[in-house]
Subunit: 132 residues, 6 copies
């Protein structure tokens, strides 16, 4: 199995509902360093997993809808805690849509899966992986 990963980041504000979150129930924020991994069993004719330029561009596009925002105000997350785990899944799902919509190129139709990791600090991170 082959994979390629590209990294970018977002800076967002949000708050959580639920006692389990302790002081994070207050409005606070985070830098999420975001790693998007694309997987496939065989390389395409160019010898690559995915066009890394398009992968970088589409990750930036997906992150652009979240970046520099208060996620508490985003309709897409109404009634949902925007935990690191939930954001991993949201970003992975939106990248999957980009693949299916052809925005990562025709070669990307051979991708088998996507994994997204969000690093919220030097001591904590979360991941979500899914098939394509």
């Amino acid at each position: 199995m082959f994979s390629v990963t590209v990294r970018d980041h977002i800076m967002i504000a949000h708050s959580f509902r639920g006692e389990v979150f302790g002081p994070a129930q207050r409005l606070h924020g985070a830098t999420f360093v975001v790693d998007a991994t694309f997987r496939r069993p065989e390389l395409d004719a160019d010898g690559i997993v995915v066009d890394i330029g398009l992968a970088t561009e589409q990750l930036k596009a997906v992150l652009g809808e979240l970046n520099y925002r208060n996620l508490d105000d985003e309709p897409a997350f109404a009634g949902t805690n925007t935990t690191t785990e939930v954001l991993c899944r949201t970003i992975a799902d939106r990248l999957a849509e980009a693949v299916h919509g052809g925005r990562l190129g025709d070669g990307a139709r051979g991708l088998a899966g996507i994994a997204v990791t969000l690093h919220e600090s030097h001591v904590a991170w979360a991941s979500y992986e899914r098939a394509l």
Copy 2:
């Protein structure tokens, strides 16, 4: 599949028995930067894999039994080489006991697996993963 990872560290002394260990047969030591990963297929009702506060606390508790010690003197490791690999398994197994004992909260009963990575330097690390 979702995962959450928390990081901590320990500083221990030990020595190894066996020619394969070369100069590490002498009493020496290591800082192990420890990553504990918790995995589950679906998030709980709060949108999380595990209460990150409890995960951090329980990892610290497990590491507290090893930290600032000469592992050659620990009864738990009598007759065992405390290699990085063995320590990964020990820590993962003790975290699994903590999960089963309810010390990571009721939600943690939905966890599917645990992985532990010990970084012994900037150029070497080891991991162990197990089901729950």
Copy 3:
């Protein structure tokens, strides 16, 4: 010259006033990984720059006044852009007060300077250094 550095982090929300900040004028947030460096020309009688336990504890105390907060609502920053640079200075000044107040121990009175670095992502960070 000797130095010792300890690392911790905060997660805050804030917004900026001024066109130079572009989209960061919206309410957003950041994880700041914080490095506090203590400097002195000679070691104390124990062979250390500062009691690393106290340094870690006092950094956590200073950061505790900022962590999990919306800095736009903090009276201490009224009328001030809480840029990464400004936060570096704030944290360094509060650590300096802790040194002068004896909260880093008597030995810490031999410290010559403090530097604070805030990493706001994997591609940007800021620092402030001052004498004691």
Copy 4:
């Protein structure tokens, strides 16, 4: 499942054929920080995955055939784009040969798989994993 990873690096020149590579069609170069991971379900009698000294030595030997070279001139890659993905597979396959040839020791015959990751920058990396 257990694993052990060792890290080294190479510095090479190369160019790519294919429009998908954009400016990387020009002769350029890269530092690849290389992580080689060895996996097995059970530890050997010494409590290890593999002799880390031999693993480091054999990784260096495999990388020595690529290091400080223009890969466009290497017969082994004639007609092949030496993408990060392709290099991951080449290095993994050569390490697999080293295992089968006994150069990682007799214990290494219990290895189940190898994974190789090449970091080409702070924002991009690729991996390949295979069974043994």
Copy 5:
């Protein structure tokens, strides 16, 4: 003293003349992860060292003249070994020109110095710092 650092990278090919360089006399390449640090004693009216957007943009512009190239063919380096140290100075000098030319904004005229670090691997890096 305040500073702000932004990070980017280049991938280049080159070779060295001189026995001291050993195998690096052959045509090879490197990824240089580049950190550009801007320093000043006091913050500007917005509470910043430099407009981080412009700093990122100008660093990218300076690096764009080197990226994806064989430096052995670049007239600017004719007769010069493009060592990591020399590249640090080149990039710092070109950023200094950008500051003097107003391309980092009017506020940047208050900058006191620039430092550039090039990381050539996980185990080696070089820096150059200069006044403005």
Copy 6:
């Protein structure tokens, strides 16, 4: 001012005397990732700060006298706490001797200073810098 840094590591056991060290008064150990920085105002005729091959070799030689040892048993440290700070100075001083003894080459006689940083974990490190 130019600088070049090379990185290596050691794994040692030791204990401390003094209440300030708390649980570290017990025999424990550490991995120290060691960065040795060489500084000079002007480059030599080859365009370098120091022969990086010799720098790497000499750092390894200096570290070889400490690596895989219990520092409590080393005569060189009798009556001295081998704190991270003290080890920084010891390594820097021994590298300075290597420079003066010509073991970093004739060009190294133009070096102005040396700095040594020891990272003892992901959240703590110490440095010592001296003139040559």
